[in-house]
Symmetry: C2
Subunit: 182 residues, 2 copies
């Protein structure tokens, strides 16, 4: 078999899978974000620490994200809108999955691009019509993949990525979200 | 009534609400993201254009987001993980809502902070146990708000923000997501 180089350490992931079979408590992660209101609908959200493998962990660097509304919503557009962050998460999660599955199946990738479109009827959030939901009506992801593989094998890569995607699951199935005031 | 200055143009939003009552087609937005695989599970996602109010629109600047896995997943940590982007979206959406509702109710905000925690059993995505879901087990948001208002009024602000939040809806209710290969 030709060695494929997609840059994913699949061996380490397979070892982690084996190790976590007998240590489910190590698999319990907590991801965290801290958000500060700036002005208007502009906020900055910081991410650095998380919990996993039984202890506190840190990303190498602190990441800061601006969110705002665009000028057509009478705001200053100091960042993308909150709902667009969901598309960033979805695109990047499915792409990471494609790379991981390709590595595991010995498929050399040359390029992977994804375009994501989220249809959103803003009458919900504006309170125009209570029958219109607040979130996306639907989301469509289109992959363009150049790889040493048949179209059928490429479609199977994408299907497997979907099956194991954290963000795909989080968007297509309900999650309990609790909101409290300290 | 004292004039409150939270920086949200509520008048424009109320006018938009009125205008969209008779022009539902203008309320149909499409948000877009374009993602490119870099190496391993590292990707960069770009956001600039979107469709709304019947025509193509643009954010003032193009925004680029790196996503990767942390070093504990044998990756290079060139960015936050895809699932963490959902927390950025949730925190910023609820915070924008708090500011908008406060402005509408004449409540002066001094500071708003939100911490978001997403519990995630990674045995799902690693394929250790098919009974474990891929996404979050649950998400908890805690607001700390300093404002010219009673605790009860502050709690009501947060409750109303939740009720109109696009991202809160997208995470707590299912959305149809279609994934295709071009």
């Amino acid at each position: 078999m030709t060695t494929v180089v997609n840059g994913v350490n699949v061996q380490a992931l397979l070892e982690a899978r084996e190790a976590l079979k007998s240590a489910p408590e190590a698999a319990q992660f907590t991801w965290r974000a801290n958000s500060k209101w700036q002005k208007g609908v502009h906020s900055t959200t910081t991410i650095q620490g998380f919990f996993g493998l039984g202890q506190e962990q840190n990303h190498k660097t602190e990441a800061v994200f601006d969110a705002d509304h665009p000028e057509v919503f009478a705001a200053e557009d100091n960042g993308i809108t909150p709902i667009e962050y969901l598309l960033v998460g979805l695109a990047s999660c499915l792409t990471a999955g494609v790379a991981s599955v390709a590595q595991n199946r010995g498929i050399q990738l040359r390029s992977v691009e994804a375009t994501v479109e989220g249809a959103h009827d803003i009458r919900g959030i504006l309170g125009v019509d209570s029958d219109v939901r607040n979130g996306f009506n639907d989301v469509k992801v289109t992959f363009t993949i150049d790889a040493d593989a048949s179209q059928q094998d490429i479609e199977a890569l994408v299907a497997q990525s979907q099956k194991r995607s954290a963000v795909f699951d989080a968007l297509t199935n309900p999650t309990n979200v609790t909101v409290e005031v300290a």
